[in-house]
């Protein structure tokens, strides 16, 4: 039996033929990075290859690394293995990795979603034989609504809070979710303030996408100027002392996990908005179907359940253990 084109070893997803890793979780020589979230782009590799738009993001996070940028659809070969990156629609600069050798095609999705969110370059279907997919939300309980509806809800919520004399504090992951929220907030309602971590990351992204004006919250920011306005903060800011400055405030969280009432209540958040940068159940099924693949490998999320379902409808599906975490989304 010949060695599969990609294998999962203790360091990451590995292409032996080309001696290249994808999203490795332990330091390696050469690595292709799908996107800038910490569990996919780790510190300590010798040489990084990623999409041009992802370079400023990972440099912001990892410092001065040796990195080569490529375009979507641009092919590069290593030892007769052809690699190319394709939009994943997850966050700015996110890619799927296509790997081809002697006519056999594998695709690793990284993290992805099918809906065009207007910030990340929209997902592209890449036909393949073996499809390696995440399934963070691989349960039929997850069904996203169109983002226009969700943003209308968010803006209405902001307006209501403002009318009641409260500041809105909306939690979202500092890379990806925060910029997506920012892009669709209605600046006519009021000013948009940001936590330092989000301000810095957004600054990096401003070279790639236009965003409304934001104000970074500093020690000098007063309670009075915040009142009735919007604050975007990372989930970790909840419950700390930093947030006290926003009093009186109402909290909201934008995440796929907000689907569950229990998840919202557990985090003691007033209002949950179901907004995710991953595929929901139907998107996952659609993605698998559209690639025309025969084999599916599920990497992170509800892998057991999703692969079992795929087998029940005729796919050769299995799971592989990785170290990509269930992030806060």
């Amino acid at each position: 039996m010949k060695t599969p084109l990609l294998v999962f070893n203790d360091k990451g997803i590995y292409c032996e033929k080309a001696d290249v890793y994808i999203d490795a979780w332990k330091p390696v020589d050469k690595v292709i990075i799908t996107h800038g979230h910490a569990d996919h782009s780790r510190w300590g590799h010798q040489r990084y290859i990623t999409h041009h738009d992802n370079i400023p993001i990972i440099k912001h996070r990892l410092g001065d690394i040796e990195v080569v940028g490529v375009d979507y659809g641009e092919t590069f070969s290593v030892n007769n293995v052809k690699f190319s990156l394709h939009p994943a629609g997850h966050i700015i600069g996110s890619s799927q990795v296509r790997v081809e050798h002697q006519g056999e095609v594998w695709v690793f999705t990284g993290d992805y979603k099918l809906d065009d969110d207007g910030v990340a370059k929209a997902y592209e279907n890449v036909p393949c034989h073996t499809f390696i997919t995440e399934c963070t939300f691989g349960l039929p309980a997850f069904n996203w609504r169109p983002q226009a509806e969700v943003f209308e809800e968010i803006n209405n919520w902001w307006l209501e809070n403002q009318q009641e004399g409260r500041t809105s504090v909306l939690f979202g992951y500092s890379l990806g979710k925060a910029q997506r929220i920012l892009k669709f907030l209605n600046p006519e309602i009021g000013k948009i303030y940001t936590h330092g971590a989000i301000e810095n990351m957004t600054e990096v992204c401003r070279n790639l996408v236009d965003f409304p004006l934001t104000h970074k919250i500093t020690r000098e920011t007063t309670k009075k100027e915040l009142l009735g306005n919007m604050v975007i903060a990372p989930p970790s800011a909840h419950g700390g002392t930093w947030i006290r400055k926003m009093t009186p405030y109402v909290t909201g969280s934008a995440s796929g996990w907000m689907t569950f009432r229990g998840a919202r209540r557990r985090r003691a958040i007033d209002q949950g908005f179901v907004l995710s940068d991953h595929c929901d159940w139907n998107q996952l099924l659609e993605a698998v179907k559209n690639t025309g693949c025969e084999k599916v490998i599920c990497t992170h999320g509800y892998t057991d359940i999703f692969s079992k379902y795929l087998r029940s409808i005729g796919y050769d599906a299995r799971t592989e253990k990785t170290q990509y975490e269930e992030v806060e989304d």
């Binding site: 557990r266 007033d270 509800y302």
Partner: protein, 531 residues
């Protein structure tokens, strides 16, 4: 239904009590009359009986969602709430229902005796007409348990706000038996109806657990102490030669305790006693386990009556000669109660008095509490002598001071995902103790509470990485972590594999300082069983 669903959504999306009360009060001022009655009923645990069992609901939902049943079940274990799982997996629709809450409740009453085919048609018809949130609320009506942080007390407060009626009077009106399908809002809330009052109990006054130091309560002379009896809190009412026995869950349980008929003809009409129903086998106070043989039975056999008779351990008098005396000080009520007891103790064998524990210094109570268990008491109750009989749980005048729980060090062996706010987290645990050879762990208790959110999160992550095997929703984990498990009572049991049953087991602390082999044995546990 739209307004009701919106109400639930509003309440569910805030953690602030005032906002909840405000939303409820608004709803009570605008909702249709019949919907108001049903809302009160639902929020005071009087929802319509379940018309469709959960097995059928699961089957219908997975068919409509076009997913296999196993996938529905997996989803349910992760979501942790059946009503929510169904609402989530069904295909989204744009429509919304125009039916009122009362219509739905009536439907559910009518649906109960119908055939399975009719039930299925009804469910599918309505599921496909509702948006997500309406569907969720509709499912909750059927499966029960609106856990949205609205206590009956909070609901009563909102009702008082909307009607300008006194909160305590409303609480009284809402007690007892009333049928939301038959009564109008006018009759239930607004009218004065003497006939209804015949069977009505008073809202129970409840104690908080004592916090801090006993000495902080001030002068011992201001306080009355008695033992805390471990039975069923009840009110016994005799009015117009009729007996009514109410349990704390506002359940009329008169028929379950036929021996209390003794009170009729002896207690003056217009008397309400507050006390604890206790098992009394062999003329001494029995355990809660003895009492359990009586709780579930509707028809009490003669044999059972002989084997496990009950008594009423009385500690308060709420009504005397048809007069509500709850506003009189405890010391005054106590005196009247004692008078009544002295008069009737020989006539009514089931009438027992919960004696006061006399003390002058707090230290004496510390001593008294130490041997509470020996007399089948759970600890002590402390009541302020000048206190009126309040409504619901209030801080300050009544305190319960329970005996320290039993505790034992056990090993985590199995875990299951939790429900409600713990959905998708492994928070329901099974614990084992070593067998005599210290080779095998024998399951002895399940516990769900006692850890902080942070600890739950840490343990959840550990469980996911240290799973040995999966049995449906249950995971067996590597025996490694030791926890100190506290429990209130312990007795031999044939139903448990360990041979021991514990009451209210919960986690006292995570013993990270202890190794697997330091956990206790089953023998250690058995040694705690009172002889």
């Amino acid at each position: 239904m739209k307004a009701f669903a919106q109400l639930i959504k509003t309440i569910d999306s805030t953690n602030k009590t005032n906002k909840k009360v405000e939303a409820l009060a608004n709803y009570f001022s605008i909702a249709p009359e019949a919907d108001k009655v049903w809302t009160i009923a639902i929020l005071s645990h009087r929802r319509p009986p379940r018309p469709v069992n959960t097995t059928l609901l699961r089957t219908y939902a997975s068919e409509l969602a076009n997913i296999p049943l196993w996938l529905f079940e997996e989803s349910y274990h992760i979501v942790g709430d059946l009503a929510e799982t169904i609402a989530l997996v069904l295909p989204n629709v744009e429509s919304s229902t125009n039916k009122q809450l009362a219509d739905f409740c009536q439907d559910l009453l009518d649906l109960k005796p119908q055939s399975e085919a009719t039930k299925k048609a009804y469910m599918i018809e309505h599921w496909t007409q509702m948006d997500y949130y309406e569907r969720f609320v509709f499912n909750k009506l059927i499966t029960g348990g609106f856990r949205i942080g609205v206590s009956q007390k909070l609901m009563t407060r909102a009702l008082a706000k909307a009607t300008d009626l006194d909160e305590d009077i409303l609480a009284y009106k809402l007690m007892g038996n009333w049928d939301p399908a038959k009564i109008t809002f006018e009759e239930l809330i607004l009218e004065e109806n003497k006939a209804d009052y015949l069977s009505k109990p008073y809202p129970f006054y409840l104690a908080y657990a004592l916090e801090g130091d006993l000495m902080d309560l001030g002068n011992p002379a201001d306080w009355s102490a008695e033992h805390k009896w471990d039975g069923i809190r009840s009110q016994v009412i005799v009015r117009e030669n009729e007996l009514f026995v109410w349990s704390r869950g506002e359940e009329l349980v008169t028929d379950k305790y036929p021996e209390f008929q003794e009170f009729v003809g002896q207690l003056p009409n217009g008397t309400v006693l507050d006390g604890e129903i206790l098992a009394y086998p062999n003329n001494e106070i029995g355990s809660f386990k003895d009492l359990q043989t009586r709780i579930g039975r509707k028809n009490v056999s003669k044999k059972l009556l002989e084997k496990t008779p009950v008594i009423l351990k009385v500690y308060d008098l709420l009504e005397l000669n048809n007069e509500d005396i709850r506003k009189k000080p405890l010391a005054w009520r106590r005196k009247e109660l004692e008078k009544l007891y002295t008069e009737l103790r020989n006539e009514v064998s089931v009438f027992h008095l919960s004696e006061e524990v006399k003390f002058e210094k707090w230290e004496e109570l510390v001593e008294e509490r130490k041997h509470a268990r020996a007399i089948k008491s759970e600890g002590l109750m402390l009541k302020k002598k000048e206190a009126v009989y309040g409504v619901g749980r209030k801080k300050g005048d009544w305190w319960k001071w329970k005996s320290d729980p039993f505790s034992i060090d056990a090993v985590l062996t199995y875990a299951m995902r939790g429900h409600g706010r713990r959905s998708n987290l492994y928070t329901d645990y099974t614990f084992g103790l070593w067998d005599e050879n210290k080779e095998e762990l024998v399951t002895f208790a399940k516990a769900y509470s006692g850890l902080t959110d942070k600890e739950f999160k840490e343990l959840d992550a550990w469980i996911k990485k240290n799973t040995l095997d999966r049995f449906g929703p249950v995971r067996s984990v590597t025996p490694h972590h030791v926890f100190e498990i506290a429990f209130e009572g312990i007795a031999e049991s044939k139903r448990h594999k360990s041979g021991v049953a514990t009451r209210f087991p919960r986690i006292l602390r995570w013993r990270k300082d202890k190794k697997l082999e330091d956990a206790n044995t089953l023998e250690d546990l058995k040694a705690l069983i009172p002889k």
